[in-house]
Symmetry: C2
DNA sequence: TTTACATCAGATGTCTGATCTCTACTGTTG
DNA sequence: CAACAGTAGAGATCAGACATCTGATGTAAA
């Protein structure tokens, strides 16, 4: 019996551990994993728990299981991590091999519009913080971002410190975790505000991501509109048949 | 082979059964499911098997489980079925509440280009079929489609019959099933070919979906490039934190 | 009456160890 | 050499137990 430092469920810890090991190449050798019996023993969990983890890893296409044969790691992380995985703009830029930066244009606190009230399901007197930024990749402007978030979700000193990710600030309190988002994808030609800021020629198209970010209680905690300079950026998504 | 009547794994059958029951509203009552013990008994499977099914349903956001409390059906199919689910253009149009139609522009059989050979991993002498179509919604052109598929994946009489989905034709033989695709998302301003065909004004932006369709052996079986008239169409994707 | 704490029932989480079924391999046989 | 039967080992499923969490209830103290 191991001491539970981590309070999360065991099967989740097993998943992380296995993903780590696969990433590190521990199991890579001939793309075959030890048998469930041995794996469970070496991880210190029961086979039932291990199987719950393996089943989810199979659903995620990390591994493949063949009845009577064995479990194999899937040798094709070729096209994972598409837009269907929620990550910050910073890490999107970084994973494209470039250095992210931020230029703050403005930030303000104001009372919510009717749309805001509907989006956030908040009261009329709950103030909303709006932030306008330009994100850069290797110094070049690539994304124009407009974010809106009810001030109750942010630390009180947020407006003063002009740095850091909004995600991190929202989750700083420990009570909220952004778990998923719905992103609406639209193309745009010339945009009166974004195009000049991004130093686009009029014929350069933009990709607009309008996003509603939810926490684990399905509350909208962040609304954002991102204008991507598409010639410097590429999006993909893995589509699965159902 | 792969002819499976009901020899699929038990946990998969349980998932289907539960989804069915939820869809039929059997469990709807107060959004609470029977306990795992009772459910397992009534389904005639062990608790371990039931739990594998429940774990996947939870991952799919169909249900929510709370330790010590119970299992609940999730009352929010609000934003499922985004672009991350692979469906045909026809059903995308239909689910937008419009009637899909097709205009065939051209279709031809030719030897593969170097890009084709790389995409499909085929031989130089294996011919490739190219199809050019316009898809309409309520009679109005909304998508310009260019499809490429090695002729070996299609029935020999395919070029003569100018109708039906390519998906269906590929799967007609029974040996191939398109399981997933990787879609690259790009905006486009004026496009010399697509814009006139779609009767777009020059300033109307297009959304371009360049897709590689895979079968269950991770073979590319279909390449397609779709130009969506974005003012008539809307895309969204559910992004999950990992 | 209200608050705080102890207790308990019932649910999910985890473990153990067994049996069933499938697959790849191997040696035998005609 | 091909066809077949046997076998070992892997995942699939099962049955039952104990652990832990949560919500509700009852009881005693403020």
């Amino acid at each position: 019996m191991t001491i539970r430092i981590d309070s999360r469920h065991l099967y989740l810890q097993v998943i992380d551990r296995l993903k780590d090991d696969i990433a590190k190449g521990v199991f890579q050798e001939k793309e075959k994993l030890p048998s469930e019996f041995e794996l469970a023993k070496s991880l210190g969990v029961s086979r039932a728990t291990l199987r719950e983890a393996l089943r989810l890893l199979e659903e995620e296409n990390v591994i493949v299981r063949r009845h009577g044969v064995g479990t194999f790691v899937n040798p094709k992380p070729l096209f994972t991590s598409g837009i269907e995985h929620l990550t910050s703009v910073s890490s999107m830029i970084r994973s494209a091999g470039m250095e992210p930066g931020t230029i703050y244009l403005s930030s303000s606190k104001s009372f919510p519009s009717e749309k805001d009230i509907e989006r956030f399901q908040c009261e009329k007197d709950e103030q909303v913080i709006s932030i306008e930024r330009v994100r850069t990749a290797n110094g070049e402007p690539v994304v124009y971002c407009v974010d809106k978030v009810p001030s109750k979700y942010l630390p009180s000193d947020f407006l003063r410190r002009q740095e850091g990710s909004i995600f991190a600030a929202i989750e700083e309190t420990g009570n909220i975790r952004v778990t998923h988002a719905v992103a609406f994808i639209d193309p745009s030609g010339f945009h009166a505000v974004a195009s000049p800021i991004l130093e686009c020629k009029p014929e350069t198209a933009l990709l607009v991501l309008t996003q509603l970010h939810y926490d684990d209680n399905d509350q909208v905690v962040l609304f954002s509109k991102n204008y991507f300079k598409a010639d410097k950026f590429s999006f993909h998504v893995v589509r699965k048949r159902v």
